[in-house]
């Protein structure tokens, strides 16, 4: 593999890792507060649809972004309602949200746009544009570092940079602020938080809201930056991969960055090398496409070693039996 090819693969790694990273951080906030969220997929999908539909109609990517966040947060609120207020089963609620999003997006897309469950292709201001960082072109001739800066670091859309900044920001919020302390505590032992005079429900709702916000960014990125419009099931299991990355990362922000980059790399490789010869036998395209998902299964099957989830995770907080 030559240097330019390597750069291209890494460049697409960054693009593909971004939605995973956003969703992974979303799950991190929710699960750290003790609310399991298998509905990342559904929220992303809803956000992708809302943002694409709004951007298509209004021509504004910003309104699209807002709509995406809104759609995702509405589903997050639903999950919160069932998991926090009504103390329901969090897995079932999450699965229900995935089904709801998968069905509703296609039906609405078909009803509104009559394009076989798609939204119209987004053009111009209805999409996020690549941002050229300062001096990208000036520095390009510098050996090695120049192309790395110009190709790999510069030239992504805004949400990629936002996602990158969200990693240290999440770390800071979780480990350096009062809110983070309470959020982590409520995922480990809600009774400790309750008896310390802090509302368990409010803390968890806040965490779920952040999760909705970040899934909104992830979905909007898919439809208005990575691609140009919504198509059915366009999340393609990214919500589940983000969950696997979350476990792989042991529920920590920096590790989440590493884990999602790894999955992004696999997706990038699969995308670039659709036909690989292994010992004279040509591997079918499907094998490469399946690679990230196979890794997900391997990781979930416990390859990661001992990952201790938040102790109160998945359990509704019930004081009186």
């Amino acid at each position: 593999m030559d240097f330019p090819t390597l750069l291209q693969v890494l460049d697409s790694t960054v693009r593909l890792a971004t939605p995973l990273l956003l969703a992974c951080l979303a799950g991190l906030f929710s699960e750290r507060s003790g609310i399991y969220d298998i509905g990342l997929e559904g929220k992303m999908l809803a956000a992708a649809f809302c943002s694409a539909a709004t951007a298509a109609v209004t021509g504004s990517v910003w309104l699209g972004l807002l709509a995406g966040i809104g759609g995702s947060m509405a589903l997050a609120g639903l999950h919160g309602l069932s998991a926090i207020t009504f103390r329901g089963n969090q897995l079932i609620s999450g699965v229900a949200i995935n089904f709801l999003a998968a069905g509703l997006t296609v039906v609405l897309a078909q009803d509104w746009f009559h394009q076989g469950g798609r939204t119209p292709s987004l053009l111009g201001g209805a999409r996020f544009e690549a941002i050229a960082l300062p001096f990208a072109e000036t520095l390009r001739p510098v050996p090695v570092l120049g192309p790395v800066y110009a190709e790999l670091i510069s030239g992504h859309t805004l949400l990629v940079y936002v996602a990158a900044l969200l990693v240290p920001a999440s770390w800071w919020v979780l480990y350096r602020t009062r809110f983070g302390l309470r959020l982590r505590a409520v995922g480990e032992n809600p009774e400790a938080v309750d008896t310390a005079g802090v509302s368990v429900q409010a803390t968890r709702y806040a965490a779920v809201a952040i999760c909705g916000l970040l899934c909104g960014l992830a979905g909007a990125y898919l439809a208005t930056a990575l691609q140009a419009g919504f198509s059915r099931d366009m999340t393609a299991g990214r919500g589940y991969i983000a969950l696997a990355a979350l476990i792989f990362a042991k529920w920590r922000p920096w590790q989440a960055l590493g884990a999602t980059l790894l999955f992004g790399l696999l997706q990038a490789v699969a995308l670039r090398y659709q036909n690989i010869e292994l010992g004279g036998v040509g591997l079918p395209v499907q094998v490469m496409d399946a690679l990230p998902y196979i890794l997900t299964v391997v990781i979930l099957a416990g390859f990661v070693g001992r990952a201790i989830p938040p102790r109160a995770g998945g359990e509704p907080y019930v004081k009186e039996r």
């Binding site: 602020t177 009062r178 302390l181 400790a192 005079g197 004081k319």
Partner: protein, 519 residues
């Protein structure tokens, strides 16, 4: 407020509860409870398990909401809607089951909920200083940077007390604080409480140990079945009177027993070692023996290997070393290491956690009455088919003999009280007429009336020439029931004593890791 606290007899009581009621579904945990706690005193609350003590205190601390009733703090009526309100009213509580965040440090646990601002740094720095001051004032040293999960129960309790003091609690509630402590740690705790009292703080001490009430409190209130039955000055009462008030009838506090007549060696344990999944040694070179017709008591603070020992003997956990029953070697790690083979070898097991290991809670009592003995042909109508009618009628008889109330085999195990659940398990195991009975925490969470009965049954088994291995964290129980006592600490046997020539102090030292003199 602190200024007149010491002389507070003339001022309003620290706490006044008026007609507090609370129901959990059909269970009326508190009925019309009224209570006055005077400022600057240590006020004890005693009552059997399930009497409603924890519920009442949790209401005072805002953890539960009362269905009806009024709370007055310092003479003023207050609404306590959540723990924040209670903290603001100057109340601190150390729960029976600690409310700590295990992966957090001591400091983080202390500031949780009472941080000074949105950023943690200043709060942590301030708490560090305050903790140092509190440690100096009250002998409450604890490493502020230690993680809770690395601390023992004694230390965790200190953290809970520090949490309350950090919030400037004037009234401190402690719910069964000594259940998990060594006698030395308990003494230390009582010194701290005296010290707090002399600073004008008001303390409510919940316990079921009458000795502690007599030693530490000024006033004592007795609860029975959700009601407050009496409030007395400690100096004017006696353990016997309190016990009677708790149970509603006269009870024998001492265990009457005849001297043991030990016979052949039934159980021999040699160099037993257990290492858990994390690579921590839980049992190291444990060697013990139990004879027919004797009770060997294992004393120790919870979590020092007693549970592992029972699990190994009961076939629930593999180990290395040797265990012989009547000279026959048991399989400690191979295919013969399971509960069924152990039962076949003549071992019956009343596990420590009866709700998890002794019973299947949603099942009927008659179904629970044969667990572990399913393969007994006497219980089957044809090979592989259970003879349910017969099992049901047998269970009814058993329940009558063991005084299970109500003696109805069609009730689910979970609808019996703790004491009656324990009797169900005991009945199943003892009626099998085992050579060796393993029994863990036989009276944990059991009411006084039932304790008497359970103790008598265990003694009867001994007098019938069976060997009994008793594990309990209650020193009184160990001293009262056992003929011989072995003390465990850190997975090792610290020493063995005859029950007749040792006492609480000596055992307490050994429990804390002091090697006993060779027996």
């Amino acid at each position: 407020m602190a200024a007149d606290a010491g002389t507070g007899t003339s001022s309003a009581p620290a706490i006044e509860l008026r007609c507090i009621s609370k129901a959990f579904g059909p269970v009326r945990a508190n009925r019309d409870i009224s209570l006055v706690v005077r400022r600057g005193t240590i006020h004890g609350i005693v009552g059997e398990n399930g009497a409603g003590k924890s519920t009442l205190m949790s209401i005072l601390y805002g953890f539960y909401k009362a269905d009806a009733g009024e709370i007055l703090i310092g003479g003023r009526p207050v609404q306590i809607g959540d723990s924040q309100d209670a903290i603001r009213a100057g109340i601190g509580m150390v729960f029976q089951h600690f409310k700590l965040v295990e992966p957090f440090t001591v400091l983080e646990n202390v500031i949780l909920g009472t941080e000074d601002g949105a950023l943690l740094k200043p709060s942590l720095a301030k708490a560090r200083g305050t903790l140092r001051q509190l440690a100096a004032d009250y002998e409450l040293e604890v490493d502020p940077d230690a993680r809770i999960e690395d601390l023992g129960v004694g230390m965790r309790q200190r953290v809970e007390i520090l949490k309350a003091l950090y919030r400037q609690a004037d009234i401190l509630i402690l719910d069964e604080p000594t259940g998990v402590l060594t006698p030395a740690e308990a003494d230390h705790l009582f010194r701290i409480l005296e010290n707090l009292k002399s600073q004008g703080k008001t303390i409510i001490l919940i316990t079921h140990k009458l000795r502690e009430i007599m030693a530490a409190t000024d006033t004592v209130s007795v609860m029975r079945r959700g009601e407050m039955t009496a409030t007395l000055r400690t100096a004017d009462t006696s353990p016997a009177e309190l016990a009677e008030l708790m149970v509603g009838r006269k009870v024998l506090l001492r265990i009457d027993k005849s001297p043991a007549r030990p016979g052949r060696r039934v159980l021999e344990i040699e160099k037993l070692c257990v290492t858990d999944a994390q690579g921590i040694a839980r049992l190291s070179d444990v060697s013990l023996s139990v004879r027919a017709g004797e009770i060997l008591g294992i004393a120790g603070v919870a979590g020092n290997g007693q549970s592992h020992l029972l699990e190994v003997l009961g076939g629930m956990r593999p180990a290395t070393g040797h265990v012989r029953i009547d000279g026959k070697e048991l399989d400690l790690s191979g295919p013969g290491c399971d509960g069924r083979s152990r039962r076949a070898a003549g071992i019956a097991h009343v596990p420590e956690d009866r709700q998890r290991e002794g019973l299947i809670m949603p099942f009927h009592a008659w179904e629970d009455s044969v667990f572990g003995y399913h393969s007994d042909p006497a219980l089957q109508s044809a090979p592989g088919l259970m003879d349910n009618a017969r099992i049901r009628s047998r269970a009814g008889d058993q329940m009558a003999r063991f005084d299970v109330r109500p003696p109805n085999p069609d009730l689910a195990a979970q609808s019996f009280s703790g004491g009656n659940q324990q009797k169900l398990v005991l009945a199943r195991e003892i009626e099998r007429n085992p050579d060796l009975l393993l029994v863990g925490q036989p009276t944990r969470g059991v009411d006084i009336g039932a304790i008497e009965f359970i103790h008598r049954r265990i003694l009867e088994l001994r007098d019938a020439g069976k060997a009994v291995l008793l594990v309990s964290v209650e020193l009184d129980e160990i001293l009262g029931l056992s003929d011989r006592i072995a003390v465990m600490c850190g997975g090792r046997i610290m020493g063995e004593r005859l029950a007749s020539d040792t006492d609480e102090t000596e055992l307490g030292l050994m429990m804390a890791g002091m090697k006993g003199k060779a027996a």
